[in-house]
Amino acid sequence: MRRNSGAVSLFFVVLFFASITAYAQPKLNVRVSASNLLRYGTGVENSVTEDVNKKYFEELLDARLFVNEFMAGVRYEYDDPIEFGKSVKGISQRFLEFKKDDFTVRAGNYYEVFASGLTLNSFESRPIGWNTMFDGGKINYKSSFGKKGSVKFNGTIVAGGMDFTDINDTARTETYSIRAANFSISPVKYFSLGGSYLYTEGKLPTGTLITDITAEIFEGNFSANYKGFNLLLSYANKVTINQPNAIFTQSKAPRGDGAYGSLSYTREGFGITLDYKNYRFNVTTPDQRSATDPFKSLPFQNAPSAIKVYSSTLLSRFPHNVDFNDEVGWQVDVFYSPTPKLTLNANASLTSRHYDYFDADTTILTRYERIDRSAFLPSVKNEFSPYWELYFEAEYYANKDLKTKLGVSRKTNILYSIVNPAASDIIRTFTVPLEVQYTFKKIYGIKVNAEFQQAYNSLRSGEQHFWSQLTTLSVSRSPNIIVSGTAEFTNDEEDPSGKKYWIKGEVVYKFTSANTVILSYGSERGGIQCSSGICRYVNPFNGFRLTIMNNFN
């Protein structure tokens, strides 16, 4: 936790006296809700170079106390150690919130989203070790006024600080303090206007050196809806100023910007969405791209990724890592239900960097210059590191008890190497996922998931074409138990784990409707995992996992 423990102690002293007051005044309403997550794992992790013993223990208790208009929340975390990210032992979150009529005021830890997230979208994703939580305060005012409350206003002011742990190097921490505000106003039902402003001061380490920066982001947005049409447009402009140091000997103030738009049309049985993104928060030459560049998009900026999110294993295996600093693209997603039993989903997307570059130096040195073009649309040329995908899925309920789902996916992801184009990372996949589930005697269920994938990876030194096949069989008895087994096979000679098959068994037992134990044993292939366009590599794992989830309301 960022601030000192004195504040936490004071907070709980106040809380304690509030609870005593609650006893004294029977009219006070008091409620507690709590959730608990315990994760334990032990086994062997296969890294590229060696097998290492892996053990983790994570205990998270989230509790919320409601006393009339007040809500107090606390998270107690005990990682010994955490599976991914930075271990915490102690109170990792605490806040006090007051809500009355149109006002909400919070002191302590919070997450916040402004509009489409171009300015601010802080969130936590434990599977990849990502956490952009702030410690400070926020005030929200939401009101309707005018004739019949037709005019709607929503405004938020936030301030606070954050220590952001780099997911690729947990020893590296960026520190930020922010002040920001956001508003939206809807004068009539059909459209709304909004805007946001953020000011931040940051300390970004590069090795042992710290670069001090200040940054400002202005954002405006517009949304409209009429007769089944919905439109959203958002644009943000950012300027970052650095203090000179040994790395950056001069102060610079580069600007970057980002735009996101979405247009959808819906009617009964049909829906189509077109997303467009154009993120240019730090368009630089190939030799200057760096995850630690102080002029990059900030970790608490997280705009829509505009690529499809999959839930099945092989479809998620080679994901695209969204570059919020330099990426332009679009996505079309269509749902169509010609009959209540059949739903069709089609998706197409194309994404690339904005520009191609060339070496303008005629000596042995290198000086990249970009080849200008109208960069409002993505390119499919390798030099632009394109990513594209086509996906089609049909879901059919033959009757109440039998459901089938069949998909087809084709993806290409290219990470272009300007130094050696022949060494570019090119991955092409063709994947067919199939799911069949059958329910019998009302409470028993059988589910089969089968996925087949053909892949091409240009970085393989031997055979570049390979296939993978994954099958999961689950048997369940409602409302308590699911037993499943997963087997995955491949003929890939260069899988990082050095293996060709992975077999895992899992038992899920729900001892009440909101309390669950999950036990699994076996091997998992690992790979790249993503959340909101942010990705990290997860090593293959072979061993035992235990998860206990509880909710108390």
Partner: protein, 164 residues
Amino acid sequence: MKRIVIFAVFVFLLGFTSNSFSQYDFDLNDLEGNSVKLSELNKTGPVFVQFWATWCVPCKEEMKVLNELWGKYKDSGFVFVAVTIDDQKSLSKVKPYIESKSYKFPVLFDTDKNVFSSFGGQDPPFSVFIDRNGNIFKTYSGYMQGDDAKLDKEIKEALAIGKK
């Protein structure tokens, strides 16, 4: 010592808690931008609040079942509301998905997951069933095949609570 004190405070408070409706009432926007309050929905009858997301497969299976149960029991006062916790990356797909399935129940946005968190939600599908008196009748985490029989039975039980 500090940890023990904190733990003691919470245990102490758990002992005299009550389900007060005003503390988990929420006010969220629906697909058309209209404000919808839980306390208003609860005037009709017991409210089943399902937290879901477009990328969550079991959520959509549960939603299909709940839609059928809502069709069966809505005339008896059963209210079903689906609250999406989709974030910015998938938010634009919520309305097209709902309309393509011809669902007619209210769908609300909880983009910053504040309401989801206030009920102690961890992962979707996560649901809270509030009875006619405004008390939390059941909390559900996860969904499995065959749960429709259990849900059907519990809707009947909830409809019987506080019936005049």
